[in-house]
């Protein structure tokens, strides 16, 4: 019994001595640290993705404290984090970029894009490109071996089990750009999440070569360019290039695309809606509309018909702000072509399309 007591006593004495020693040392050799640094580190997401350009969140916290990085340097945290960081360091949160997500610029699933041979090598896209430039017939196609999946720190990108190409989970994607950097085929791109239309093909080849390889590749037919009423599409290297400043999101290009390479966000397509109580029947909207989608006599209430593409050109022109652009609740009738709807005289097709 005494033995236990002696032991406990000795240990307690040692503990006391050491605790005193540690306390003293802690006081004497204390390193003055910037509390803001720890606060910033607390606020940052902590995934260490490197999207900011620094080696992880700790490094970014150091850089922000030292004034080497700005408050909104973290692309992952977005505005919320930028505001918190700005509050800590006492600066402005800075302008936020548009919310971007990684986009797979290829729709060449295995049922659409041919394979050249069976690949037996390492499950890695970079390794696969070393053998005959990958096993997909199209040299621009997603190989689907998951190099991007391993690069993603946010579990936001996966290889689809059936289609064998990468799919991005837009809710989880933080646009850190890690996947874009590793992809050997450059099929990943950071694009604003709200884009109405995207060209989901990178095949810079003649149309016949593309269609030999892939059912959904862009064949460079220029239908999208010709149908665009806002001159927002130009062709470069057999691919359409959309001028985002001119694009109104009418999605006509996606509608006419014969292969489907031009993707349109048709679920979120808009339609003009005229408030009957506000409309004064001035007819400006009718004049502005490129699609002959608004009908109505002067001084009477105007109506929007099925031909509306939701381009929204009429909205700012309405003097009484009677037009809104809600999301369409139904699919636009594919036959509702320009000038064919009720109440509008049919115009010849040649005139309907510019150029």
């Amino acid at each position: 019994m005494t033995g236990i007591l002696i032991g406990t006593g000795v240990l307690a004495a040692i503990a006391l001595v050491f605790s005193l020693l540690l306390t003293a040392v802690n006081k004497v050799f204390a390193v003055p640290s910037d509390t803001r640094r720890d606060q910033i580190r607390e606020v940052l997401p902590g995934a260490n993705c490197g999207g900011c350009g620094f080696a992880g969140c700790d490094a970014l916290a150091d850089a922000i404290t030292a004034g080497k990085a700005i408050a909104n340097a973290c692309p992952v945290g977005g505005l919320a984090v930028a505001q918190k960081v700005a509050a800590i360091i006492g600066t402005d949160a800075g302008e936020q970029e548009v919310h971007k997500v990684a986009t797979v610029v290829c729709q060449g699933t295995i049922d659409r894009c041919k394979t050249k041979f069976t690949y037996h090598g390492i499950e890695d896209c970079i390794a696969a490109t070393l053998i005959n430039d990958g096993n997909r017939a199209c040299q621009y196609a997603c190989l689907g071996l998951g190099t991007c999946v391993r690069a993603c720190k946010f579990d936001a990108i996966h290889i689809d089990e059936y289609s064998k190409i990468a799919r991005v989970d837009t809710d989880k994607c933080t646009a850190c750009g890690a996947c874009v950097a590793v992809c050997p085929k450059n099929v990943l791109d950071l694009q604003p999440i709200t884009l109405p239309v995207r060209v989901l093909c990178r095949a810079e080849e003649e149309g016949y070569l593309v269609s030999d390889n892939c059912k959904i590749g862009c064949i460079g037919c220029e239908l999208c360019k010709n149908v665009c009423k806002f001159n927002a599409i130009a062709m470069a290297n057999h691919l359409p290039v959309i001028d985002r400043g001119l694009c109104t999101g009418c999605m006509m290009c996606a509608e006419v695309c014969p292969t489907g390479a031009m993707w349109g966000d048709l679920d979120n397509r808009r339609i003009a809606l005229i408030d009957r109580d506000l409309c004064i029947g001035c007819g400006i909207c009718k004049k502005v509309c490129q699609f002959e989608a608004i009908s109505g006599e002067r001084k009477s209430i105007h109506e929007v018909n099925e031909a509306c593409t939701g381009c929204g050109q009429c909205v700012p022109k309405c003097p009484v702000k009677a037009i809104t652009l809600p999301i369409r609740q139904h699919v636009r009738d594919a036959n509702a072509k320009v000038g064919t709807s009720e109440g509008v005289a049919a115009i010849p097709k040649d005139e309907a399309q510019p150029n």
Binding site: K116, F117, H120, G121, I122, D124, I126, A127, T129, L130, I131, N132, D133, G134, Q139, R150, A151, V182
Partner: protein, 463 residues
């Protein structure tokens, strides 16, 4: 007889009845010309050539159709006479598209006027380098390094040894073997010309001891020249690797990232020496090369093939593939590239077409059992199993620190791995990623420097 050094690692693949024995006794036959050739404008390491012809042009054999651009480059010549159909991108063995000159053969085989060098003994380093550049001389062993660069010695470097590489360690291939038997004198003369031009003291000829007839032929061809030494080296893969060969014959090591030149050695393949002889004494540029067709083909052979001939034509002449053939390789079984189409043209770097049975490849990987066999066979003293793991984890920086850039991609590790892990492939992947990163970093630095210079200029102007 110089002291022979044994390089670390290496393997000795058992070839059985399908190996070199099949073709090494067959003399070189001239392959009938194909009706159409596709001659790539990039057949060397470096900058692609500029096309000198357009659609519809008439060309003769030996006419320069691609002009070398930049320092690291070599000319490309027409290998048949006929009409240029087009200059368009074609798919090569690595699966990538490269611009090729496509020529329809008129089967007249009319040559351009060949002008041999008037006084070969008076060639100096500069002249022979220019000659190599215009004759399209590249390393015909497979690396396709432009010889013009190899011959232009920096003034501060002293070279005392020229090594003629006749090892041909790759299984199945016998192109160099047959070349040494048929053209031993020409090969030796070519080497002598280079030796005199660059004032090199001695020439070492390294030949693996599984080619006793070639050793004999080469010894006989150079018996009057006391500066030549023919060494029979043990048959050991990759004995023909440049760094291994330099170590074996001279005991010198080539620094990591360096060239044999830094160790005072120039290594050229026997095929290249023969091509140099032809360029000097016959004025003939590189328009053909010896290609071994072996493995699962009906009639294996050593062909003298015009550059740009499609693989299809070679196989057709060899009676086609045997039914059990599953993998077609552009090159030998150890370092060759698997190809999935037969319209790929033969380039200067292709020493063989090998068809393998199903059992030779396509085995599933299993987990590493840490037996260490890969590191014991690695001729560059790397640890492939660790490099493999690093690559699969995406840790390329660490792989670089562990020396993955020294990998010569000989394939010995993959060959010896009992778990069938694709070790060489992962090293190649790491090398590709690291090379690209270095290139991007260099481009970034260049842009940064340009930006700074511009900023300085603006400031000066303001003053």
């Amino acid at each position: 007889m110089s002291l022979f050094h044994v390089f670390p690692g290496g393997i000795h693949p058992r070839e059985g009845i399908n190996g070199k024995a099949v073709t090494c006794a067959l003399p070189i036959e001239e392959l009938p010309q194909p009706s159409r050739v596709a001659i790539p404008l990039l057949q060397h390491i470096g900058t692609p050539c500029k096309s000198l012809v357009v659609k519809g042009d008439k060309v003769k054999v030996g006419m320069m159709i691609g002009e070398p651009v930049g320092f690291v480059s070599a000319a490309v010549h027409s290998s048949v006479s006929g009409t240029v159909v087009d200059v368009q991108p074609c798919i090569l063995a690595n699966g990538l598209q490269q611009p090729c000159v496509i020529i329809d053969n008129d089967f007249k085989d009319t040559w351009v006027e060949l002008t041999p060098v008037a006084e070969p003994d008076k060639l100096d380093g500069k002249a022979i380098s220019q000659l190599a550049r215009n004759a399209g001389l590249v390393g015909l062993g497979g690396a396709t390094f432009p010889h013009a660069v190899k011959y232009s010695l920096p003034p501060d470097k002293k070279v005392d040894t020229l090594i003629l590489n006749g090892a041909e360690c790759e299984p199945y291939l016998s192109a160099d073997h047959r070349l040494m038997l048929a053209y031993a004198r020409e090969i030796v003369t070519g080497a002598q010309t280079l030796q005199h031009a660059l004032k090199i003291e001695r020439v070492l000829v390294g030949i693996e001891d599984n080619k006793p007839d070639a050793i004999e032929a080469m010894t006989k061809a150079c018996e009057n020249d006391p500066t030549f030494t023919v060494t029979a080296m043990p048959t050991h893969y990759p004995q023909g690797g440049e760094k291994q060969l330099v170590y074996s014959l001279t005991g010198r090591t080539v620094k990591s990232g360096g060239l044999p030149l830094d160790s005072g050695v120039i290594v050229i393949n026997v095929g290249s020496s023969h091509a140099l002889y032809r360029a000097v004494y016959e004025g003939r540029p590189v328009v053909d090369r010896v290609v071994t067709v072996s493995g699962c083909v009906k009639k294996p052979a050593n062909y003298l093939v015009r550059i740009g001939t499609p693989v299809e034509w070679l196989l057709e002449t060899s009676g086609g593939l045997l039914p059990q053939a599953r993998t077609l390789l552009y090159g030998g079984p150890m370092m060759g590239m698997a190809i999935n189409r037969e319209d790929i043209p033969i380039t200067k770097g292709c020493s063989g077409i090998t068809a393998l049975e199903k059992s030779s490849a396509l085995e599933n990987e299993s987990n590493c059992i840490r037996c260490g066999r890969c590191s014991s066979v690695c001729p560059m003293c790397l640890v492939p199993s660790v490099l493999d793991k690093l690559m699969r984890k995406g840790m390329y920086d660490e792989a670089e620190r562990q020396g993955v850039m020294n990998c010569i991609e000989c394939g010995a590790c993959t060959w010896s791995c009992p778990a069938k892990r694709q070790l060489t492939q992962s090293c190649r992947t790491s090398k590709k990623v690291i090379t690209e990163r270095r290139r991007a970093e260099a481009a970034r630095q260049k842009a940064e420097e340009a930006r700074r210079a511009a900023a300085v200029a603006v400031q000066e102007e303001a003053k």
